[in-house]
Amino acid sequence: MGAGERPMVQAEQVHKWYGRFEVLKGIDLEVAPAEVMCIVGPSGSGKSTFLRCINHLERIHAGRLSVDGHLVGYREKGDKLYEMRDREIARQRLDIGMVFQRFNLFPHMTALQNVMEAPLRAKGEPKHDVRLHALALLERVGLADRADSYPSQLSGGQQQRVAIARALCMRPKLMLFDEPTSALDPELVGEVLDVMRGLAESGMTMIVVTHEMGFAREVGDSLVFMDEGRVVEAGDPREVLTNPQHERTRAFLSKVL
């Protein structure tokens, strides 16, 4: 497979259980490089869980899941799978940025320190460069003047924007957004979308879990509708949103205000 054609993310029959509860019931999907895929679906359908699997924060129990051609968390030699060492997993994650649904900012660091931490420590980039990059990113999400505030001193929307800047500062190849605009006002949603559009144009692949259909329509290259741990429908966002094929999708979309 040539590098250009190789999908950035490829999931085949991904299954995952929590105890006896099957969260993911065989997910199949592919995300091409530079593609923006939106995932929508009702609460509890397994969207966050799937994102966490891509990052190997959760272990999948059956199926195959690979990022950029490499299995997530495993090495394959011949027929056999070998678990990766912590160090290798960490290296794999350097290329995958993630914005958590609950932000998970580091409370003992200021906004700026939050953004600078990983490039400095995990990538070992020079401090001066990281600082400039971090400040530029905070500027871009409209928080330049709040760089020295601690997370507890920021409003919900401000925290969410710091989380986005933090993930971007790693210059990942793939970004996973878990409801990145849930705490934002419409104005900021617009701004953050601009940021993301810029990223998409610069060739970054993105998977975005969102409840904003407008966003999916405007920015998404593809849209996946998930329900009860399954991919129910997938395709071009405009098509899926205007002309859903499945009963379940239609029911869901009819509720959108």
Partner: protein
Amino acid sequence: MSTSAEVRPQVGAPPPEPIKAIPVRHPGRWVAMGVIAVLVAMLVNSVVTNPNWAWDFQLENAFAPPVVRGVLTTLWLTVASMLIGVTLGVILAIMRLSPNPVLSGSAWCYVWVFRGTPVLVQLVIWGNLNSLYREISLGVPFGTALTTFQTRDLIPPIAAALLGLGLNEAAYMSEIIRAGILSVDEGQSEAASALGMSRMQTLRRIVLPQAMRVVVPPTGNETISMLKTTSLVAYVPYVELFFQTSAIGSRTFRPFPMLVTASLWYLAMTSVLMVGQYYIERYYARGSVRELPATPLQKVRMRLSRRGI
């Protein structure tokens, strides 16, 4: 850019093979285990063969009636003093964090004095209160006394031992509990207040149960340390395990083997306490981790049932 997401028919598809991956090999672990095994073997060998440990002498004395009595005394003294310590410690911690300056000030002073002076001295004072004050009078301050007690009748040795250990422990426990309370997210008590719960209800129902996760391990420390601190009640004077073993040691001029005997008794009691601590920690971890790991017992049972036994 192409829309490459696709849906495959899934109805009726058999669940795929579960992932079976070969775990990371850790040759270092095996080497380390080998080294540890050799070291342990050497230690065991020397402990068994070296006559200085005097195992036969220890065995002879380890279960002598005075020693066994001592073990029981040590145990109940530990439990009773820890009960006093934890109860009073919770009260002191709450006082310390209260906005009321009188309460927080007195709690601070209590902790300062009781933590700052040696428990040995506190025990000596409780045990010998009557060398300071032959009698204690209740009555008008600086005025006439109404009732007068002989201190030496008022505080029997057992009370002095419990007072000394318990009041001292309370000072330490209050700091541990204070740390636990501080570790609970502010949002939790805000949510409780917003629901109309009073300060005390919030503490009892919301904050303290969450604080327990952080409180239990240092409390385990304190309890295990208390086991051995009880030996200081000799100053009251009151008699427990350590007194008995060292009495045998001085009588026979073989103090060292008897120290080892005492240690083994303490180690046995510690082991019981550590098992208890494990389950208490587990109980308070509920809800705070996504999945509780299995207990050692459960693991054994799972293995057995897998083999069809």
